[in-house]
Symmetry: C2
Subunit: 603 residues, 2 copies
């Protein structure tokens, strides 16, 4: 963190002058910088929606008063007035848990997508960037978060690398976690994904929780389907939340056991419908809204955490409480002061909406400044790519492949049946198949006619130069190759192909781009998306990313692909924590058996 570690004062911190300004404006000694008049305030404290005038003093809300008060002699004439004509003033929404990388863009581009919708803050677990660029990557993004029209708080990734069966770009050990916890933007330790280790009392995992506790910050949970004694053990560690509940029973048990229940509506996993009965004022400060992972097109079509507010209200949730779940409750969970409410002394992050059901932001204020209106970020608020600080070394040029010749993806015939990964539509689970391979001259070949394709995982962090090769079925590719540098969680280069040459061409092109996705056939690039930052995200705007992804999907379909969202599916084929069979740079991993297995099937 260099110089910033010595004096970690994030711009999000409130200065003494700012506080005095707010006190002066409220007391009527100084004019408000802005008066929002004629609106109704959504009050997260008492659940009311009542007419009120909101006076701002720079970045802070100075006062929220009944119109009669504000019109009184005590108030000085404000410097500016906005007439709201009955619209609602809502605290700017805060997403309780998100991996921005899933949207394939930088925080700046992400903000361009969600700020106009009323999202003024997110808690980001930069798990993917950390797996590529480690401490330096997290330091880079912490700096990157300083000048956005959206507040970004960070949870320190707790699982870098995720398993010993892969080569990640970096490690974040206890010392790194402890150092990062000191940064004022860091609000906790991110989701403790190795829940079996926590339940087993693993010393390193418990130490991560203890570090968060010692720093008076949170340790976040990730405990899919955990219940009964195992759930009790997981929470006894001090982990304070969970965002993996998919059923009402699961959510109810976790909430009762003391976990802050994060209700998630991501792109792949959508839990709001199931958990809706728990979104009730009876559950007070114990429920929050999160998106976790949102693909570019969903972010464009449905928005970020605003989507949960809108949907839950339409489905019958108490409107003020739905807002609370995406604002004050999240702020409270993370101990964020002066955040998540329209009240004196709070930061003036606000959205103006005509009604809560629609939740279409007419205007959005960040730090007391208007940053968006009618669905568009205002020019002044949107730092163009030219104005943004250029990405630094740690996150650029991260695709460092070993030298690869024509034989790099060769698979020798082991003589007999082999293990084959089956990719399944619309889920990240895979199946482990045993098939007789198609063999020629002692080599196992891709055989598109049988939908048997080569799958390769190429270590791309310049560390080991290791290459894993295997077979996959389920894509339907008839020629060419698809490849990408997004490969959870180690983010090595994954390529699937009907042809070794096209796979190598794709890898070479990704090295040139510094990361991204490509579709190749006949030695020619048919479509591509550059993800130049850590090989995971780009500084390009969200709509460009979304159209590039559509072009890539179209190219894949042209090459015969029948699997939906094939590049996303490919990015999960290397994830050795989800059953059944995976391929990393170190080889095939049998997830349930918990180890590397040979290509040749047993027996």
């Amino acid at each position: 963190m260099g110089a910033s570690r010595a004096q970690p004062r994030a711009s999000s911190q409130i200065g003494a002058d700012e506080v005095r300004y707010a006190v002066d404006v409220a007391a009527g000694r100084r004019p408000a910088s802005l008066l929002l008049r004629g609106g109704r305030v959504v009050n997260v404290f008492d659940g009311s929606l009542a007419p009120a005038e909101v006076a701002l003093a720079g970045r802070l809300i100075a006062s929220v008063t009944a119109a009669a008060d504000a019109a009184g002699a005590a108030a000085m004439a404000p410097e500016a007035v906005v007439e709201l004509e009955g619209a609602l003033i809502v605290p700017g929404l805060i997403d309780g848990h998100v991996h921005i990388e899933s949207s394939l863009v930088t925080p700046a581009a992400y903000a361009e997508g969600v700020v106009p919708r009323g999202v003024t803050g997110v808690v980001w677990d930069p798990h993917e960037i950390a797996n590529v660029a480690g401490m330096a990557g997290v330091e880079w993004l912490l700096e990157r978060c300083e000048s956005l029209p959206m507040e970004v708080w960070i949870t320190v990734p707790s699982s870098v690398p995720s398993t010993p069966f892969e080569t990640a770009g970096a490690e974040l050990g206890l010392a790194e976690i402890e150092a990062l916890l000191e940064h004022p933007r860091v609000v906790g330790v991110a989701e403790m994904m190795s829940f079996p280790a926590v339940v087993a009392g693993d010393e390193t995992e418990l130490s991560k929780v203890a570090l968060a506790e010692a720093a008076r910050k949170t340790a976040e949970g990730h405990a899919p389907e955990l219940a009964g004694r195992a759930l009790q053990a997981y929470l006894a560690s001090g982990i304070g939340s969970d965002h993996e509940s998919t059923t009402l029973t699961e959510g109810r048990e976790k909430l009762a056991a003391g976990a802050f229940l994060m209700v998630r509506e991501g792109s792949v996993t959508r839990d709001l419908q199931a958990l809706l009965p728990l979104v009730t004022p009876r559950h007070a400060d114990r429920v929050g809204f999160v998106t976790d992972d949102r693909l570019p097109h969903d972010l464009l079509d449905e928005g970020g955490v605003d989507c949960l507010v809108r949907r839950s209200i339409r489905a019958g949730a108490d409107p003020a409480y739905a807002v609370r779940c995406a604002s004050y409750n999240v702020a409270r969970h993370y101990g964020l002061r002066r955040r998540g409410a329209v009240a004196p002394g709070f930061v003036a992050d606000l959205a103006i909406v005509a009604d809560l059901q629609g939740f279409a932001a007419r205007a959005v204020y960040k730090d007391g400044r208007r940053v968006a209106e009618d669905g568009r970020l205002l020019r002044a608020a949107a730092a163009g790519p030219g104005e943004r600080p250029a990405p630094a070394g740690a996150v650029l040029g991260t695709v460092r492949l070993p030298a690869l010749d024509a034989t790099a993806l060769r698979l020798d015939d082991p003589g007999g049946p082999v293990r084959v990964i089956e990719a399944l539509p619309n889920q990240i689970l895979t199946r482990a198949l045993t098939l007789a391979p198609t063999v020629e001259g002692g080599r196992v070949l891709a055989d598109p006619a049988r939908d048997l394709l080569k799958l390769a995982c190429l270590e791309r962090h310049g560390r080991r130069g290791s290459v894993g090769v295997g077979l996959v079925t389920g894509f339907g590719l008839t020629r060419g190759a698809l490849a990408g540098t997004v490969g959870h969680d180690h983010h090595n280069l994954l390529a699937v192909g009907a042809d070794d040459g096209d796979m190598l061409t794709a890898a070479a092109r990704l090295q040139e781009l510094g990361g991204g996705f490509v579709a190749v056939a006949g030695g020619r690039v048919l479509a591509e998306l550059q993800l130049e930052i850590a090989g995971l995200v780009t500084d390009a705007p969200l709509d460009r990313v979304e159209s590039a992804m559509r072009a890539l999907d179209a190219a894949a379909r042209e090459l015969g692909v029948t699997l939906p969202a094939p590049f996303m599916a490919l990015s999960f084929l290397g994830l050795p924590v989800i059953p059944e069979l995976r391929l990393t740079d170190l080889g095939l991993v049998d997830v349930l058996a918990g180890g590397i297995v040979p290509f040749a099937a047993e027996g």
Copy 2:
């Protein structure tokens, strides 16, 4: 704080071994230290009361499981079992704001009074001790809090001294407040009583709030009757609570404005009845229960914060929510982790009650150990005076009067009408009267026939040796004198008398005792209570203090006193922040005019 400042690790902090133990017990790898079986748990998270078995692992709750789970093969046989036969398991109650000094006892004796009632924690503002013994006094009591059967958290007194019109024993400036905020038992800056200065934007007062915020702790409020713009300005400072609401309108406005609403039921000020409609689950985490000040007899008769739980439920409040207001909500407000709930990973501070209406604790557990049953503290938990660390120098021998001769209390006739304080029954407000004094030989005399008595305030901290003398009416004393070293907030020695000699005898006796209350007549001590610690509290048990106070009140009545609770009334006659007329060691203070005034009435 000496050595403890370098390594401030309060016993309340949870160690890594303790966490591992809890995880192991929950997971079934180790036997529970204690299993509470057959009870029903009051769940503050979802508001439910459901049958459950609670397994403890030393100081922590390891698991809270349905009976079916606990009986399963996974659980190991516990080391001990208590059968609860349908009784309720409630989180140990936490009083959100209390001045223990008002009960005239040390924290240890206070704990003896309230722990058997289910109160296992208090947030103490040691405002009185700090005004006498300053930093050294607070350091002493922080040490004193380490070995109690009750958790004591401290808020740093913010108003020491309270005004410039008095000589307190010490000052706590910004540097002292900042240093104390580092201590792990310190949870915030105590009630910011100088609310007009905060509203006025006073730099020192705003700095106190900023120090709390920088330490990620709270700044507590005290804003009686503040409303409208002034309230908004007060809260814009960052102050996060208020416990001075006495009407529903006032409480509702403060809650809506974002203050954590502390509902108070003290000895003098009782607000629960008025604020009861706000004690509703709709207000989620925004309401807490506090006692503020409780006299010894009220503490014995009605209890501590348990009184609010009992009364609010009897008056119709949601039972689980009433418990939440005196447990989880308070813990949450102060950022106390692992406190205030019966849930895995939480500290095993628990009360067992047959029903919530009665809230009579059958047993109380602190840190997983049974410390009280059937209304009595268990011997092992109650450190006898012999076992308690002896009070140290800073808080002993604090009555250091100047040399006083027979003329010390002389009042020269100013020639004309003089200012007289009128003490009023059952309130701490006084009235300022103008009367012709009774004069003899150029001296103003006490004249019991007119209920005109001498009132003296003797600086007793050994600092200035200043003595204020005046007249008071309303006591009805016909002979002798009453005196005490409790004198808000400076705690100089206050004496009221029909006779200068008896007043001086009383003062001399208090010097011998090191503080307390005495009733004297004819040169003889009729009754007394020693308050040897800071001249404010004693290590004696609560019932002894209560009977001594009854004897003192009886002696006062014998001397003709008609004013109820005359020693308490006396203790407030020197408080220069409550209208109208007061006497400090520096002379008469006209509170509304805001300054020292002469004995002679103007005109």
